[in-house]
């Protein structure tokens, strides 16, 4: 009963005439798939290659690192040992963790109420406010470096984790609000109204209904914010020195004026990105789920 399954009108002479074009269509689909697979792998390799090369280089000696590129060498961990002797990796790493997660938590705490109000109680200015918030991301950070530096100096926030958390929160807030806003907007308003009829206060509405129902979205927003904060270098290099410096500053400290030590720099970089790489790897399912949340409901 193939006709019933495919929904075709059963014609007495159609089985042969139909089969050929269908086969071509199938093979066209197959080759399209193949091309997409090749393209996907190509792009992935292109993106991953520098990281791969950095990891490889970190296991070479300085001499090998600047010699002709080669994959054949005897690996060594001397760079890692030396890098750890020069600076305490764990201190920087701890700063990175505290600052990235702290700023993400703070950004979420601020963004959830604002996204809630924009998504469910919009005014005539809501769209404008959102666009304005996003437009601040187009401002080159260096443009506000001097005023922020002076503010930090006068308030004693220079080289403190708190200061960095504040800056990162402000830096990521527009994106976090915007993302949460789109996730919240996908939630049927009726559900929150039903909650209101059931006697939920605004806080209970958010806590019992909004948060559990948009958790995948909130999680992926948070993950993105963590990654953006972890990778941020401009502010951390300018606003911290010894106490609160995160891993980005740690890497930078290996580019010395007397010349670059590629192998050591690679080892430091590998150690700096390793945690976030593992973190991203472990949470990739959640990231993809969150970013496509709503689209494939």
């Amino acid at each position: 009963m193939t006709t019933a399954k495919t929904g075709q009108v059963p014609l007495a002479h159609d089985s042969k005439t139909r089969a050929a074009p269908r086969r071509t269509a199938l093979s066209a689909m197959g080759s399209r798939r193949l091309w997409l697979t090749v393209l996907g792998w190509g792009v992935a390799i292109l993106i991953f290659f520098p990281i791969f090369w950095m990891i490889v280089t970190s296991f070479k000696t300085e001499a090998e690192a600047i010699a002709d590129p080669s994959l054949i060498f005897s690996p060594t961990v001397e760079n890692y040992v030396e890098v750890q002797q020069r600076a305490d990796y764990f201190k920087f790493a701890m700063n990175s963790v505290v600052v990235a997660f702290g700023s993400t938590l703070l950004a979420l705490l601020l963004a959830i109420p604002s996204a809630y109000s924009m998504a469910f109680l919009p005014t005539r200015r809501t769209k404008g406010t959102l666009l304005w918030m996003l437009s601040t991301k187009m401002l080159p950070p260096v443009g506000v470096l001097v005023p922020i530096y002076l503010l930090f100096r006068d308030t004693g926030l220079l080289d403190t984790r708190t200061g960095l958390i504040i800056v990162y929160t402000l830096m990521n807030l527009p994106i976090v609000v915007w993302m949460l806003y789109t996730f919240f907007k996908d939630l049927p308003k009726d559900i929150l109204e039903a909650g209101r009829m059931d006697g939920a206060s605004t806080f209970q509405e958010v806590w019992h209904l909004l948060l559990p129902l948009t958790l995948p979205g909130i999680a992926s927003t948070g993950l993105l914010s963590v990654i953006l904060s972890w990778n941020e270098a401009f502010w951390s290099l300018n606003l911290t020195s010894s106490q609160a410096a995160p891993l980005t500053a740690y890497i930078a400290s290996f580019s010395s004026p007397e010349g670059l030590f590629w192998a050591k720099l690679s080892a430091a970089s590998t150690m700096a990105i390793a945690p976030i790489l593992v973190f991203g790897w472990l949470t990739q399912k959640q990231m993809v789920r969150g970013l496509t949340f709503g689209a494939v409901k």
Binding site: P188, D190, E193
Partner: protein
């Protein structure tokens, strides 16, 4: 006791007035249906009663107390949404018990109340399921169950059956009517489906453009529509409207000239009518009868045979006329048929679309659904 009063209630969104001064009394245990075309403001009015929309002007009173500034939960109402609005991450039991949980009711008491509501709605085997594992009809019942558990003074329904298929809709309609009897509660129900309105309501409120066109029992609206809009909206197929001319008015009613030269006397109050004045005669398709001697004639354009009855769509000059007649009628498309009607079944509408008052009230006009349920003699007791 649960009564609702609306006094000159207004809703304004920026420059647009969606509800333009509505007055309404809903009595205890009454089943009131708001009906009207989409965009008439019926859902907005319901949401204002629920407290989900603010009231721009006028008063909303529940049991005599002004509720304008009172929040939705404190009004003591429960609402069933068109989309059901179940909490997708909670089980049926948690959905139904959510309001009690928020109110701080103990787990044991909560379970007891949920079980009670589940029993009424036959939901007991489904209590551990999540909404996505339920069919449309079951979700609907959970939404109703969630309302029952709150033990509200008034139930509000916002087009609750419009997402169900036709067969289930009929079944749920009967179930809701049964529920109304069982719970003995005041219910307000919004729909655009006039069949739902006719079958379930004690009192129908017909809305158009944010204005109440008429309030009355289903039979009152059917037999004594106040204006052309209500006449056309209530009844299916729609009432026919035929241009007529006044010949004169007397104690027997108004004499009018029909298209094609025929005459009839419609038993309505003539008032200040002048001879020659143009009126519209309204007559329902089911009140037109095929009759070779009939004063009207038209050519059949379309025939719809439903078995038990047949709908004939006729063209009579410029006017389209629908006749609902016997299922076995032998007429065919392009035939010209003659038809007539009993004048007491007809309505007359003036130039402003207002109905001229009938000289005699229809005996069933004041019967409500409650009367239907209690005693047949109630029909004449009014």
């Amino acid at each position: 006791m649960a009564t609702l009063q609306l006094k000159q209630v207004v809703k304004q969104f920026d420059d647009t007035r969606v509800i333009k001064g509505v007055d309404l009394d809903v009595n205890d245990k009454e089943f009131v249906v708001f009906v009207g075309p989409s965009g008439c403001g019926k859902s907005t009015l319901l949401r204002m009663i629920a407290g989900l929309e603010s009231t721009s002007d006028g008063d909303i009173l529940i049991d005599g107390q002004r509720m304008n500034e009172v929040g939705p939960a404190e009004r003591g109402l429960a609402m069933v949404f068109q989309s059901y609005a179940l909490y997708p991450h909670m089980t049926v039991e948690d959905n139904m018990g959510f309001s009690l949980k928020l109110a701080g009711v103990s787990r044991q008491e909560r379970r007891q109340k949920v079980l009670e509501a589940a029993r009424i709605l036959q939901l007991e085997p489904l209590l551990d399921r999540k909404p996505k594992a339920l069919s449309g009809g079951q979700r609907q019942r959970v939404a109703i169950g969630r309302a029952i558990v709150r033990n509200p003074s008034i139930f509000l329904f916002d087009e609750p059956l419009s997402n169900l298929d036709a067969a289930l809709r009929v079944q749920m309609r009967i179930e809701l009517a049964r529920l109304h009897d069982e719970l003995d509660a005041t219910m307000i129900y919004v729909t655009h489906d006039q069949i739902e309105a006719m079958t379930m309501a004690d009192k129908i409120v017909v809305l158009q453009g944010g204005v109440v066109e008429q309030v009355g029992s289903p039979m009152e609206l059917y037999h004594h529509p106040r204006n052309r809009f209500v006449a056309g909206f209530i009844g299916s197929p729609k009432m026919n409207f035929i241009d007529v001319e006044v010949i004169g008015a007397g104690a027997e009613g108004v004499d009018v000239r029909l298209p094609g030269g025929g005459q009839c006397t419609v038993p309505v109050e003539g008032g200040q009518l002048q001879a020659g004045e143009a009126l519209e005669l309204g007559i329902r398709p089911e009140h037109l009868v095929l009759d070779e001697q009939g004063p009207l004639a038209g050519e059949i354009q379309v025939i719809e045979r439903l078995g038990g009855s047949t709908s004939l769509y006729l063209q009579m000059g410029e006017t389209s006329v629908t006749v609902v007649t016997d299922g076995d009628v032998a007429s065919q498309v392009r035939d010209t048929v003659h038809f007539g009607f009993v004048p007491s079944r007809a309505h007359l509408f003036d130039r402003d679309g207002l109905a001229l008052k009938s000289l005699q009230r229809h005996p069933l006009a004041d019967i409500s659904r409650q009367d239907n349920r209690s005693a047949p003699s109630a029909a004449t007791s009014h």
